[in-house]
Assembly symmetry: C2
Homo-oligomer: 415 residues x 2
């Protein structure tokens, strides 16, 4: 498709301009985009109404239509998101570690944009603004491909972004929204390494698996969130109760919700019946090991599959384990390296858990629900990475950059 290659070529050219742009220009564009969105609320609502009507005609369910809706509150949230990204420090050009070497050269690292970022996402149109603002602030050009359900909404948002870029004197191709509903566009976008440096898929697991398998450029991705809370036998049981309840019931459909609770045998009898009652009040179904079921009558038996499950629903797997070693083994075997927490007052066990659990976020005495760009102070996130290279965990501005070496000399040559 020559259309996608044209977008790629234009993005590659724009990327050099955006990479060299000053903080003031980039922030001016973000402010202008926010102002335009605010001024264009009627146009945005009209475009969104077309998508909603088409969605109803195409049989989208209530949850899908809800994700698609651009309510006034969601437009407010997009504008607020832009202002938050605007307020973040510009990461581009930061030089760290500059120091003299025996040869007399100084060597350090400069933080630089990745180049052109392709983002593929499903129906929520607010992602268009979130992604564009993070890419722009981090000095990258981006090509955004939203879901076909939100085609008109994304087009209206794209028009606002274009006005903001123009107002700040930045190239239009710094942010390009794919203007074809043709599904082949995604296949093209992920197979142009000459124009696209990295792809970030945001959506369901099948989308992400397909893109990972087919991409010919690096992918920053999030697959599963099989998150654990391990309640140690030296836990403060009130903290354990609060964390285990919050990690499961605060929101169900999110990747950082707890899916499996591990409880040390010595405290299982004191904790599990009390927790089970609270889960029952919240409507959470429990699936447990034999020892759990001996303590909680209404608990169903867990199968081997339950330990691997990302329910994203009011269901929780529960297992009584002998202690820390068994908990670490369980997490290593069944977990997805997303977010795992220990509840303990024991210093040495906390220290071991932090070191030995190989997940993108590892926590002591806190709810897994904190694994989030805003909670971590990154300001916003393009997604949460469960990869091991480059960026792990919430990916904010820094994850959209890398570091090159800078060398300052005074005529040095190698002898």
């Amino acid at each position: 498709m020559s259309y996608m290659r044209d977008l790629g070529r234009q993005a590659r050219q724009a990327a050099r301009v955006v990479a060299a742009a000053g903080s003031r220009e980039k922030d001016a564009a973000l402010a202008a985009i926010a102002a335009t969105l605010d001024a264009q609320r009627e146009g945005l609502a009209a475009a969104n109404a077309r998508d909603l009507a088409a969605g109803r005609d195409n049989g989208l369910d209530a949850a899908q239509l809800d994700r698609l809706a651009l309510t006034p509150a969601r437009i407010d949230a997009m504008i607020e998101g832009l202002r938050q990204v605007l307020a973040l420090a510009d990461p581009v050009g930061e030089i760290t570690g500059l120091s003299y070497r025996p040869s007399g050269i100084q060597v350090g690292r400069m933080r630089v944009p990745l180049g052109v970022i392709g983002i593929i996402y499903e129906s929520r149109p607010n992602v268009t603004v979130d992604a564009a603002s993070l890419c722009l602030k981090s000095g990258n050009a981006c090509i955004l491909r939203g879901g076909s359900e939100s085609f008109h909404s994304n087009g209206a948002i794209a028009a606002c972004i274009q006005r903001g870029l123009a107002a700040a004197g930045l190239p239009a191709a710094a942010v390009q929204v794919v203007a074809t509903p043709d599904r082949a566009a995604v296949g093209e976008l992920i197979a142009m390494p000459e124009f696209v440096d990295v792809v970030v898929p945001r959506g369901g697991k099948s989308l992400i698996e397909r893109i990972s398998a087919e991409a010919r450029v690096p992918v920053i991705k999030h697959l599963d969130g099989v998150c654990h809370v391990y309640v140690d036998d030296r836990a403060d049981l009130d903290k354990a109760f609060a964390i285990a309840l919050n990690a499961k019931t605060h929101r169900y459909g999110v990747c950082n919700a707890m899916e499996t609770l591990l409880v040390a045998e010595p405290v299982a009898a004191a904790l599990l019946p009390r927790l089970a009652a609270a889960y029952a009040d919240a409507g959470v179904e429990l699936r447990g090991c034999e020892r759990t079921r001996a303590l909680v009558a209404e608990c169903r038996p867990a199968s081997e599959d339950d330990w691997y499950a990302e329910y994203l629903a009011p269901i929780l797997a529960v297992r009584v384990v002998p202690g820390l070693d068994a908990a670490i083994d369980h997490i290593g075997r069944y977990g997805s390296a997303h977010t795992d927490a220990i509840v303990t007052e024991d210093y040495s066990r906390a220290r071991r858990f932090l070191r030995e659990v190989d997940s993108s976020s590892v926590m002591v005495n806190a709810s897994t629900r904190f694994a989030d760009g805003f909670e971590y102070g990154l300001g916003a996130e393009i997604g949460i990475s469960t990869d091991k290279l480059h960026a792990r965990g919430p990916v904010g501005l820094e994850g959209l950059t890398s570091q090159k070496f800078v060398v300052l000399g005074d005529g040095q040559v190698r002898g």
Copy 2:
């Protein structure tokens, strides 16, 4: 091939042990490997003699046989390399940026190993020790696949590594050398994402291109080194002379050698004839643009292909450009984002070059030959990355790690 999957499975298990190993254990292993290599010089020489004899029978040329040879000096260098890696600070477990968030949690990042690293390299057997030591120190397990020409040498080195691991109580599978000359082993190694986290190919361009195209795991790679030196019209011409000569003639077959010299028009007449005489003395063939040829009689004409060429030989492309903008454009168009240098005494131009040239190493008034792990103080390198994600430039211990988030709380839950 179940053999490779067995290696993978064992490496995955060993990786957890090595990741949790203390600095003292890892350093003890490195010291024991060095001592064993020192004690086994005769056995190493005998194994190497078998490879050399087979190489001669198979028609390897003198340069190939030279790369294959394990001379006493090269065994000394392997031992010295181990001691240098031993002396480096352990990167694993370093926590940075730990700070309080409004919710009361503390959030920081801990440096952690990548897991299992696959390294594929050609005939030089010393890579076996270099790669093993860097992976071990950075807490990773590794699977090493050397060239079939060095099969016996690598086997003898592997035996020394095994003794060293055993002496330090570390698992044998922490470092595994593929013990089959079957070429299908490489295809397997790069297609086991469940067991291998990243692959580092070291060798010729065709090897690296094939691995990049076929790998189903992330690849840290080095492709081309089309390095430039731009001599600005505000350069100190004595520095320019020394740097341009060193960057080309210090060594020809290395990726950080200059392949194209760009000279600002106002200083071309003062610099190029003098430089051309020095290049002629060194036996370097020049291929230049029309303006270069007007100044240097013996210079052949350069074709468009010459601007893209990585000669790795005593050949140099030379182009006279109007100034900094044209130089940056040329590097962006024809370069390989490896290492590029400006020679100038102008502060603002140096500052612009550092920011706007998007290469893994960007230099002011220094020879491109400095782009090297030892010269940068990384201690040693597993290779030089021309990728944009994760690691750019020389990849040392830090490039074999990533950072996970650590969260320390006191019972916090999300409201």
